[in-house]
């Protein structure tokens, strides 16, 4: 029940905010709610048992028995940090939007909470149709955020975002429907429950390009690759980011993109291990192209926000590189990098938004010598930049190190190509830092009478910076939760690929008596 509460509480909050008679206190109310939500998810973390790969705190019942659709939520080491990340960013977003969102405040917070429900739901759903429902319903509030509070070309960007993602996800829906029918062929009953589907054997022919498993994998991969976004289907991202308001960008980069990479780990890899292995070279190639291409394009941007958006493409390329390396180091690194990216890119969008609120321009050329005018802002920007370019002691270093290690273990070519991205990433970030903060003071900046960070902005940035160092200095605190699940995933994939029949499925599908004790102890 705890998980269902975490997922649907934001929905309740959305209603409360929508019908709250005092519009003035919307922000305070929402902030309170979001902190409550964070508290609940920390409770979940506290109850989580990191020693087992099983999904935990499962809440399930038959939802649409005729179609074999279950309602089943559960958390394991792969999803737990993404839940924490989303709930950690939400209060910051609410605080961060205090000034950025001036009109339609109530609607904004309603959209925020609806988005939260759909994102948390997609990270926790263990039924494919349920996942799809959450995955798709996240589009509506996000498109609203871009379309209502966005920049000049907001309608174009919002449309593009919606149609692009929707186009990808219908292929996933096709795969889901086929999987349900495959389960019927294997066991006689329709089912979209992931734990049932993990057990079925999907036809795969070694050496042939087209087989059932490959096609179904591609259906998932198209949807997820668009969501990540991977090269060459990343083109919606810069538009969406540039047009979106700051809080929208933070959520989009911070959490929504992870729905794609998470989908690979949760669905595509375990369901189609052979096909993922077979096509991994293609995805590694696309990931590396994404890393380098994203970095190169970021280098020539004159708009800071666009630069951060392209750096996002590059960073998500790392995540995919790690995942498709398909070894422990790579996958762990990919998972870690998802969190890093959520924190560092989220923080970068916050920082860009803060300066934009003051000057209403995002052109790099409009700035210069900001370090002398806004010293504290500069310090924060530098820390986040270091995190973003993976300087040791920051969180980015741990993630990229693990990913590159994984890539080298896969093949040294991928490792070498991945490393070039690190250099390029440092180049554009340091270039933009140099242009904006150092060098001669730009005369135009005088007229704005810039003030340094307000206490509210401190509140946004300090938690992020704490996380940067915490995750950079003590990665073990975080990795110990996901370690067992990741190992389990990798081992099972390799067993499957070399034809061992001893697949160890995740355990919750078994009868109560066979379940590990902690699952029974959890309420149903």
């Amino acid at each position: 029940m705890l998980l269902s509460t975490i997922v649907f509480l934001p929905l309740v909050f959305a209603f409360i905010v929508a019908f709250n008679p005092k519009e003035k206190i919307t922000r305070e109310l929402s902030l309170g709610f979001s902190i409550l939500l964070l508290g609940l998810s920390l409770l979940m973390l506290f109850r989580f048992d990191p020693t087992t790969p099983d999904v935990q705190m499962v809440h399930q019942f038959k939802w649409i028995p005729q179609l074999g659709i279950d309602y089943i939520l559960g958390v394991d080491g792969i999803s737990i940090w993404l839940i924490i990340l989303s709930n950690f960013l939400l209060p910051l977003v609410i605080v961060g939007s205090w000034n950025a969102i001036k009109d339609k405040v109530r609607l904004f917070h309603v959209a925020l909470f609806l988005l939260q429900t759909s994102m948390l739901g997609s990270f926790l759903a263990l039924d494919l149709v349920l996942f799809y429902i959450f995955f798709e319903s996240s589009l509506i509030p996000m498109a609203m955020m871009i379309g209502i509070w966005g920049g000049d070309r907001k309608i174009y960007a919002s449309f593009k975002f919606f149609i692009y993602t929707m186009f990808g996800s219908v292929f996933m829906l096709a795969s889901i429907i086929c999987l349900m029918l495959l389960n019927k062929a294997a066991t006689g009953e329709l089912s979209s429950n992931l734990l049932d589907l993990y057990r079925i054997d999907i036809a795969f022919v070694e050496g042939r390009l087209i087989s059932t498993q490959t096609l179904l994998f591609l259906g998932f991969a198209i949807a997820l690759a668009i969501k990540v976004p991977m090269f060459p289907v990343h083109t919606w991202l810069p538009d969406a980011h540039v047009q979106a308001p700051t809080p929208g960008s933070v959520i989009l980069a911070g959490v929504m993109l992870k729905m794609g990479t998470y989908g690979f780990l949760r669905f595509a890899f375990p369901l189609f291990p052979d096909a993922s292995e077979q096509l991994s070279q293609i995805f590694l190639l696309l990931a590396v192209i994404g890393i380098i291409y994203g970095a190169l394009v970021a280098m020539v941007q004159t708009d800071v926000k666009k630069l951060v958006a392209y750096s996002s493409v590059s960073h998500m390329g790392y995540v995919v590189l790690g995942l498709f390396a398909m070894n422990e180091a790579g996958v762990t690194g990919g998972l870690y990098q998802m969190l890093n990216h959520g924190i560092s890119t989220g923080a970068l969008f916050f920082l860009v938004g803060m300066i934009y609120e003051r000057t209403h321009t995002r052109e790099v050329s409009a700035y210069g010598g900001l370090a002398r005018i806004l010293p504290i802002y500069t310090i924060f920007f530098l820390i986040i930049t270091f995190s973003s370019i993976a300087v040791p002691l920051t969180n980015g270093f741990v993630g990229e190190f693990l990913i590159l290690m994984g890539a080298f273990m896969k093949s040294s070519y991928w490792g070498i190509l991945g490393v070039t991205g690190v250099v390029l990433g440092a180049t554009y970030m340091l270039w933009v830092v140099k242009k904006i903060f150092f060098g001669p003071e730009n005369e135009k900046l005088k007229k704005y009478e810039l003030k340094d960070l307000s206490p509210r902005e401190w509140c946004v940035l300090v938690p992020l910076v704490i996380m940067v160092f915490w995750m950079g200095l003590f990665p073990g605190h975080f990795l110990k939760y996901s370690e067992v699940s990741v190992n389990h995933l990798i081992q099972n994939m390799h067993n499957y690929s070399i034809g061992t029949t001893e697949i160890k499925p995740i355990n919750i599908g078994l009868k109560d008596s066979q379940k590990p004790s902690h699952i029974i102890s959890e309420e149903k």
Partner: protein, 497 residues
């Protein structure tokens, strides 16, 4: 020869809902002529009588045929009518959709209030035709039901007050409709002719009896095949499937909006129900070339409908084209039903759920359009919706839910009905149809999003005079019921199927 038909009381009890409907349809006319001395009865009274008639038909249907839900099948009138689960569900859907769409007639300016009793008469009788259409167990009965429904509709279309396109629509509908009926009848005669040869002169016409003969004949007998195709063409016209869809956008646009609601909901449901009955003749699945053709017909219907809708600036015409696209989706479900063996199977179920869901959204969207037309006159463009959310948030949310439902975006009922439909299509191995259907729903998303974008993303225009709070009445409540159903309907899906 078949044994001479003996009519029993049980037969009449089974058709009692239809008889009741007929009696109620006469009431407004009788009151007008005999009591009111040829002055029009009050609209409210007429509406009450009609609703009473529809509700009592619904009640009688459930009382006398409720057992069909558990799989009992009744045959009546020398097996001309069949009462089974499929016809029960079909009729329930038709009656429910008719009840929902009736109130919109009372408030719309294009409806001639001086002829409202006649309108009720025609409305109820066309539903009567639909009920027989759904019950029909042979081709002649199907034809009679279809004609009864269509003749009433032709008159309903031309009855409205002068509108720019209404007369054109009426003529088009009548001429093309009659042509289609002719083709249908010709096809029926060819089918009968070829069946009689096989059965030694015995007139065997019931669907269930000629089911197996049809499977054999379709590959052997050219005459039968021709007849079969002609009947398919006739049905294709009635349900507006490519390449016989061209009347639909014009007629839907030209007819007064309440009637468009009726045509795109109950009429569509009835035509598809009869279509389902017809394809239970096991023929399409037997012939690969026929299967290939109907598959592409379904795909092209979706494509033409969607691309047609994509370029419209008038809301009504956009919805009319999108209705064609939905015919394409439903038609793919009909194709899936060709493969099924049981009389009431998952494919039929999914088609019915889709028809109900589509009907509800149609009532929501066209119904809202009728509110707009009442205030702003005909030919409403998207501009009229600009900033609606900031003036009447509930109206905009309700309409947005209906559009999202049409687009099939989770968590609306539209998504679940699409999922159900496409999963049954996939069961039959028609993977390409699944893929085309899904791609088409993405195209659909594009134009269904446009009104939402206008409502939410644009600032309201000062000049626009529409005020939803002034609409009021039972129609407004119906609109909200429909939009709430759109949102939560999916969660009650297990109860629906």
């Amino acid at each position: 020869m078949s044994p001479s038909p003996s009519l029993t009381l049980a037969d009449f009890l089974l058709v009692l809902p239809a008889v009741t409907l007929f009696v109620f349809s006469l009431l407004p006319l009788a009151i007008k002529v005999f009591i009111n001395k040829n002055t029009e009865v009050q609209t409210g009274t007429n509406l009450a009588i009609a609703l009473l008639g529809l509700f009592s038909a619904l009640a009688l249907l459930i009382i006398f045929q409720g057992s069909t839900f558990s799989g009992v099948t009744y045959l009546a009138f020398a097996k001309a009518l069949v009462f089974d689960r499929a016809s029960m569900v079909g009729n329930l859907i038709i009656l429910i959709l008719s009840i929902f769409s009736l109130p919109f007639f009372t408030h719309h300016p294009s409806i001639n209030k001086a002829q409202f009793s006649e309108l009720i008469f025609l409305y109820l009788n066309s539903i009567l035709g639909m009920m027989f259409l759904v019950w029909s167990n042979d081709l002649i009965m199907t034809f009679i039901g279809l004609e009864m429904m269509s003749l009433c509709l032709y008159m309903l279309v031309c009855m409205n007050l002068e509108q720019k396109l209404s007369k054109e629509a009426a003529v088009k509908y009548f001429v093309l409709g009659s042509l289609a009926s002719g083709i249908l009848l010709y096809g029926i005669s060819l089918i009968y002719g070829s069946v009689i040869i096989l059965t030694d002169g015995q007139v065997v016409t019931h669907y269930s009896d000629i089911q197996e003969i049809a499977a054999e004949l379709v590959t052997k007998d050219r005459i039968f095949l021709l007849g079969y195709i002609l009947v398919l063409v006739g049905f294709a016209f009635k349900v507006a499937v490519f390449p016989f869809h061209n009347w639909a956008p014009d007629v839907y646009q030209g007819a007064s909006t309440p009637l468009t609601i009726f045509m795109s909901t109950a009429v569509k449901a009835a035509s598809f129900a009869a279509f389902l009955r017809f394809v239970s003749l096991d023929a399409i699945a037997q012939s690969n070339s026929l299967l290939w053709v109907v598959q592409w017909v379904a795909v092209l219907t979706m494509l033409i409908g969607n691309f047609g809708a994509l370029v419209q600036s008038s809301i009504k015409r956009m919805l009319a084209y999108s209705s064609v696209a939905h015919s394409g989706y439903i038609f793919s479900g009909v194709i899936a039903a060709c493969f099924a063996t049981q009389p009431y199977n998952a494919a039929i179920q999914s088609v019915y759920v889709y028809l109900l869901a589509y009907g509800l959204f149609s009532i929501g969207t066209f119904g809202f359009l009728s509110f707009l037309e009442k205030k702003l006159g005909e030919d409403i463009n998207f501009d009229a919706l600009k900033g609606l959310f900031y003036k009447s948030p509930y109206a905009a949310l309700g309409l947005a839910l209906c559009f999202l439902g049409l687009a099939g975006i989770p968590p609306t009922l539209g998504f679940f009905s699409k999922l159900l439909l496409f999963s049954t299509v996939t069961t039959t191995g028609l993977y390409w149809l699944l893929l085309w259907g899904l791609i088409n729903s993405v195209i659909g998303v594009y134009y269904y999003l446009r009104p939402i974008v206008y409502m939410f993303f644009y600032a309201p225009e000062e000049s626009s005079t529409f005020d939803f709070s002034l609409v009021g009445g039972i129609q407004q409540k119906l609109f909200f019921v429909v939009s709430v159903l759109s949102l939560i309907g999916g969660f009650f899906l297990p109860a629906l199927i």
